[in-house]
Amino acid sequence: MTGRRMLFWPLLAVFLSACAGPPVLTPVPKESACSSRFFMEGDWQFLHRLSFAVSGRRAPSLLGVTVVSTHRRSLKTALMTTEGVVLFEAESGDTALVRKSLPPFDRPGFAEGLMADVRMLFLPPAGPPFAAGRAPDGSLVCRYRGPEGEILDTVKTASDRRQIHRYDADGRRIRTAVLEKGAPAAGRMVLTASDGADYRIEMEAVEAVRVGE
């Protein structure tokens, strides 16, 4: 098989999955698909090492610190250099409140986009699931409504891996997160943006501290 043909099929698969919309589900009871243990509950402070790739180019490593309370549904996050200089700091309530944003993290829309990504990874969806079922590939999916017509799927693959898929109002998959066992407190999370933003963030757990204990 030539190199071009080898590339064609994986690229086609990615293209089709991004365009196909959320998969049709064969219904199963919500209790079996929508485990409350998909997200970590409680108040936590996480430290991750972040590796960014933007349009295939690697950016310098950063540290990401996230303070999350699932009870209060609050989220604070900061990006800093590995030496500890803060480049971006924001917190999320109904809207993103930006406390600090230095170049290149001061571009319009960056804060909202980042906070939506962080919220997707660390906070369980706000409302109850509206559907649950098995996807054609055998994975178990719990489906939630997000803001502005978005759909959020928490996915347990047939090989028992956790993923989160976010779709926009037109049904295009805009984010894919793959969570290793123990994430976000241990292991890695990989977030891929596929809405034209074209970036990939790899988050490696460094510290997880339960707050208030």
């Binding site: 310098p60 200089v85 406390r99 460094v206």
Partner: protein
């Protein structure tokens, strides 16, 4: 017993007087004191304080300086990273997937600027500086404020506390605004101890 206590007290007085003399109290005296320092090696503990944090972030590492301007700034825990400065060139490495990786296309970052400044501070050159205005404060403290307001967005001011031992700093505190500061305390300093070959150019 009384004689022994008195001897100890006198000894302590003499030692503290010598240590307090240390760097000196004027910029000129500080520069002269630093002139006899060829190398300084120390550990450091860095605490990152932010209003949003439930607990400060603590990092540890090793620091090594050799006159006139070589520096090794290595974080060993919890995230390994390394800045090497030698012959006017600064390189940055991070430890990923079991190996050191040089960060290509690494822009000039605030902390890199600070680390580069440290080489000058170790030589007692606080005032000969394009980036910061230095002010000598009581109790061996020096306050540095950025000359360029744009850099002030990263670091509002830096406070250095000099150790009583010439050439040695007790701590560096970087104030980034009202919500955040970073304090680096140096531990177990060794002055003029030989430095291994290649320490400022090689990743080990």
């Amino acid at each position: 017993m009384v004689r022994k206590t008195r001897k100890t007290a006198v000894l302590l007085l003499v030692v503290s007087a010598v240590l307090t003399l240390g760097w000196g109290s004027t910029e000129e005296e500080i520069r002269e004191a630093a002139a006899g320092v060829d190398t300084v090696q120390a550990g450091f503990v860095q605490e990152k304080h932010m209003k949003m944090l439930a607990r400060p972030l603590v990092s540890r590492g090793l620091f090594c300086y050799e006159a006139p301007g070589s520096l090794r700034w290595e974080y060993t825990d919890p995230v390994k990273s390394l800045l090497l400065m030698h012959a006017g060139r600064t390189r940055r490495f991070t430890f990923q997937d079991g190996k050191w990786v040089e960060e290509a296309g690494f822009d000039l970052q605030a902390m890199q600027v600070v680390v580069e400044q440290i080489a000058g501070w170790m030589a007692g050159r606080f005032d000969e500086n394009d980036l910061f205005t230095a002010r000598l404060l009581p109790e061996r403290r020096i306050r540095l404020t950025p000359k360029n307001p744009a850099f002030g967005r990263y670091i509002e001011r830096i406070e250095l506390t000099l150790s009583p031992v010439p050439g040695v700093m007790e701590s560096v505190t970087l104030h980034e605004g009202e919500n955040s500061f970073t304090r680096i305390r140096f531990t177990s300093p060794a002055v003029n101890r030989p430095v291994p070959d290649g320490w400022f150019t090689e990743v080990r």
